[in-house]
């Protein structure tokens, strides 16, 4: 049997970036916080560039706890949605044309979200990565870590539980 020729790298990248774009840029609150996602293969890093409107304590100044919680929750929800979408996209259950035409897969819903504030958020860009610890048919558990200058010095972390949307293929 002849081996199937791998797709050209540009086609693969275009498809994956379009899929990510569809789940990130359609959400007003993600735009409000100015969050972008940096993709390397299936790994996502959320980036929240510093802006004055994210400040919670003008004296220090420090990022608002709510902005940090929002950043972590966005990272968790998008990270979880992305991990599901990745599987469906790679296996061909969902075609990229479906996403382009606006039929977005339903998002996971947050059941609970627990944030630890480890140190104050400085007026700098923030980064976060989500790790899906368990993703079942109905429920998922996701851990998120956020840092600023140094990857090993987290300024916040969170764990959340999510209700999964019904799958497209039964």
């Amino acid at each position: 049997m002849a081996l199937k020729r791998p797709e050209p790298v540009q086609i693969v990248k275009q498809r994956r970036d379009a899929a990510l774009n569809a789940i990130v840029h359609g959400v007003p609150y993600v735009q409000f916080l100015g969050i972008e996602f940096d993709r390397r293969g299936d790994e996502l890093t959320a980036v929240m560039p510093f802006e004055d409107k994210l400040i919670g304590n003008p004296m220090i100044p420090a990022l608002h706890g709510g902005a940090i919680a929002g950043f972590l929750e966005v990272t968790a929800v998008i990270g979880l949605a992305w991990s599901v979408l990745w599987e469906e996209l790679e296996s061909g259950v969902i075609a990229i044309d479906d996403l382009a035409s606006g039929t977005l897969p339903r998002q996971p819903k947050t059941i609970d979200f627990n944030v630890d504030y480890l140190r104050s958020g400085l007026p700098r860009d923030s980064y976060a990565r989500a790790r899906v610890n368990r993703s079942g048919r109905r429920y998922a558990s996701v851990h998120v870590e956020a840092w600023q200058d140094q990857r090993s010095r987290l300024f916040a972390q969170a764990t959340g539980h999510f209700l999964m949307p019904p799958r497209s293929n039964g």
């Binding site: 959400v27 007003p28 994210l54 706890g65 977005l104």
Partner: protein, 140 residues
């Protein structure tokens, strides 16, 4: 609670850039209890298909309200910072309606304030979310 402290709290919140950006309002404050409101805003939507506000915006509201309750407690000398905050989402807030939250600092030590909060939309019988958290007690 004396009027000077109330004024100070109102001013403090109106000066916080993130609260201003979200459009948060302090509606009531007493010793260890605070109430705040977040008007519905399309810019805060988390699910474009339904128009439901993102959980993160509700988190910001509850975090601010809990922090304000901690600071308004008679035993709290000055500022505060969140140590941890847990939010449970009972249901989606109805699109188009404001979200109101009430936070109560139910215990405070020399270093930690314990706070809980509940959020509602116009339906007062079914909470949208509840929160509980620990906050630092900062010296003067």
């Amino acid at each position: 609670m004396d009027t000077a402290k109330i004024k100070m709290a109102e001013q403090f919140i109106s000066m916080v850039p993130h609260c201003k950006a979200l459009g948060m309002k302090l509606t009531s404050i007493e010793d260890g209890v605070a109430e705040m409101e977040l008007a519905y805003d399309k810019a805060l939507v988390g699910d474009p298909e339904t128009g439901v506000i993102h959980g993160g915006a509700i988190s910001a509201l509850m975090d601010t309200c809990c922090g304000t309750a901690a600071m308004s407690h008679p035993s709290s000398p000055a500022g505060t910072a969140t140590i941890d905050l847990r939010i449970d989402y009972m249901r989606a807030a109805t699109p188009g309606q404001a979200v109101r939250t009430r936070a109560e600092c139910y215990h405070i030590t020399r270093s930690v304030a314990f706070v809980r909060a509940t959020a509602f939309d116009e339906d007062k019988d079914r909470p949208v979310a509840t929160a509980s958290g620990a906050f630092t007690v900062e010296g003067k």
